[in-house]
């Protein structure tokens, strides 16, 4: 394509948006609605996922050891645990620490009652590791490994919590993929439909262009430019709205519903938009491009 034609195509693409104001508005509105839904959904999902992840990080396995195993052996075993890929953190709690913790919790305010145990730690065999997981779904594998070790006496785990969280995570993943796929398909369909209307209006123009000797690319280029621009505008508008909306809502919840905000930690807006901004823009431009390309193709058989 010659450089003149290239600039002419861009210019025509911009002019086409203006010439077909109604059609352009309809397309931009359609696109904006889809990207808005996508963004809204993304915000909810990322926050939810973040909360689940936080909860996951709190899930721990407790490992107790055989009574005859000495402290030095237990400490040496830490390496074995931390080497495993699913382990995020491993905290050693000695028998004395365990007793101190128990004492401060159980005899709170009546510490003198515990004095009788001073010389004889009732939790002498309670030295243990608290193992935190990087991925809860791997909990079973870790437990199996630990239970197979000779020095290990007992492994405490909260299977229900782990299973619920990991199931929840998988569910969120599938729902996200499903909803994004549906939104994408709907957006392409709607854009393709609106471009179709725009093209039928200009069918004659396309026919004239082709009879004069325009190449397919020359005919297609302004529509593609138009599609990209509509995608860009149609995604930028909802993204700006979502940006302010998100900030306001998070701030509002923080102010008005103190009890929720202490339980639920919302992600900062920058964190959410680090992915949502490029994803939204790419989705908008992509849908505009694909929608117009598919539709123009159908009308080029002159």
């Amino acid at each position: 394509m010659k450089i003149n034609s290239f600039f002419y195509s861009i210019q025509q693409g911009v002019k086409n948006i203006w010439r077909n104001k109604l059609f352009s508005l309809a397309s931009i509105a359609t696109m904006a609605a889809c990207i808005f839904l996508f963004g809204l959904f993304y915000m909810i999902v990322t926050n939810f996922q973040d909360m689940v992840q936080n909860a996951e990080e709190g899930v721990a396995i407790t490992v107790f050891f055989q009574p005859e195993i000495g402290e030095s052996e237990i400490i040496a075993f830490e390496d074995e645990i931390t080497r495993r890929p699913e382990v995020a953190e491993c905290v050693y709690v000695s028998a004395d620490q365990a007793w101190e913790e128990f004492k401060s919790e159980y005899f709170e305010g009546h510490e003198e009652l515990a004095e009788g145990f001073e010389a004889d730690n009732p939790l002498a065999n309670s030295a243990h590791y608290e193992v935190y997981l990087s991925d809860v779904s791997m909990q079973n594998a870790l437990v199996t490994f630990l239970e197979s070790q000779e020095i290990v006496r007992e492994v405490h785990q909260s299977e229900a919590a782990a299973k619920t969280l990991s199931d929840l995570n998988t569910l969120i993943k599938y729902i996200s993929i499903g909803i994004i796929a549906i939104l994408f398909a709907v957006a392409v369909f709607l854009i393709s439909n609106t471009v179709n209307v725009g093209i039928s209006v200009r069918k004659e123009e396309i026919a004239v262009m082709k009879l004069i000797g325009a190449t397919d690319f020359f005919v297609r280029a302004p529509f593609i430019v138009e599609g990209i621009l509509i995608g860009l505008i149609g995604s930028a508008i909802p993204l700006v709205i979502l940006f302010y909306l998100y900030r306001r809502i998070v701030a509002y919840i923080g102010e008005r519903f103190h009890f929720i905000s202490s339980m639920l930690q919302f992600l900062p807006v920058q964190e959410v938009f680090r992915i949502l901004l490029p994803a939204g823009l790419i989705m908008g431009v992509g849908v505009g491009l694909i929608g117009s390309a598919i539709t123009v193709r159908r009308h080029l058989k002159v």
Partner: protein, 221 residues
């Protein structure tokens, strides 16, 4: 310049073909009328020459090129050597006279400076230099057809095909268009005019090819 050898075209098998074993030769610089009733196959012939349709059999040669050998990708380049004018003008309604003519040059990637020189020249040839800013709906039918002719000629094609160019015009305008086409022919362009306006055809005294039901029935100078 234009050569059809045993060309037939049928849209559906079993139905009478739109063109049946047509052989025509048009030399460079000729002015030829193609006449016939509606449905006689005239428009099919124009579409074949523009490579909008493929013949069912036979060969067509234009400007020394055999059309069946032109690949799809090369069709635009081929069409640039042929100017076309239609009964319904087919102007771009949202653009003014100047832009409609310039459009044909932009399509082929002509640089802006050359467009600025060529378009006014072409508009004065068709007598519309003063109306370059008007939109098509502000013009009479005859004027619109002249814009269409200017558009068809601005890329200096060797051949001009006119499909019923006076079909939508009154007698006075029809004559003006014909005079213009004749003038263009005198400047060296080969002109093929499809029409059923027999009054003009008789008065112009040019070569006339008559088609009936897809068959050439008469060809006289």
């Amino acid at each position: 310049m234009i050569k059809l050898e045993h060309v037939s075209k049928s849209y559906k098998s079993g139905v009478i073909p739109a063109l049946n074993d047509v052989s025509i030769t048009i030399k460079e610089g000729e002015f030829v009328f193609l006449v016939g009733d509606s449905g006689s196959g005239k428009s099919t012939l124009i579409k074949l020459l523009l490579k909008e349709l493929e013949p069912s059999s036979g060969t067509i040669t234009v400007n020394g090129q055999q059309l069946h050998k032109i690949r799809r990708r090369k069709i635009p380049k081929y069409r640039r050597n042929i100017g076309v004018v239609f009964q319904d003008f087919r102007l771009l309604k949202d653009r003014n006279v100047y832009e409609n003519v310039a459009f044909a040059q932009r399509v082929v990637g002509t640089p802006g400076r050359r467009i600025k020189r060529a378009v006014p020249k072409m508009l004065s040839l068709v007598g519309l230099a003063a109306k370059y800013k008007s939109k098509p709906k502000q013009l009479s039918g005859g004027e619109q057809q002249r814009v269409a002719i200017a558009r068809a000629l601005v890329n200096q094609p060797k051949i001009l095909l006119a499909d019923e160019p006076t079909g939508n015009l009154d007698n006075k305008n029809a004559w003006e268009i014909m005079r213009l086409l004749s003038e263009i022919n005198k400047r060296g362009t080969t002109v093929l005019v499809v029409t059923h306006n027999m009054e003009i055809v008789k008065a112009m005294d040019k070569r006339v090819i008559t088609i009936r039901k897809g068959i050439v029935t008469e060809d006289e100078d």
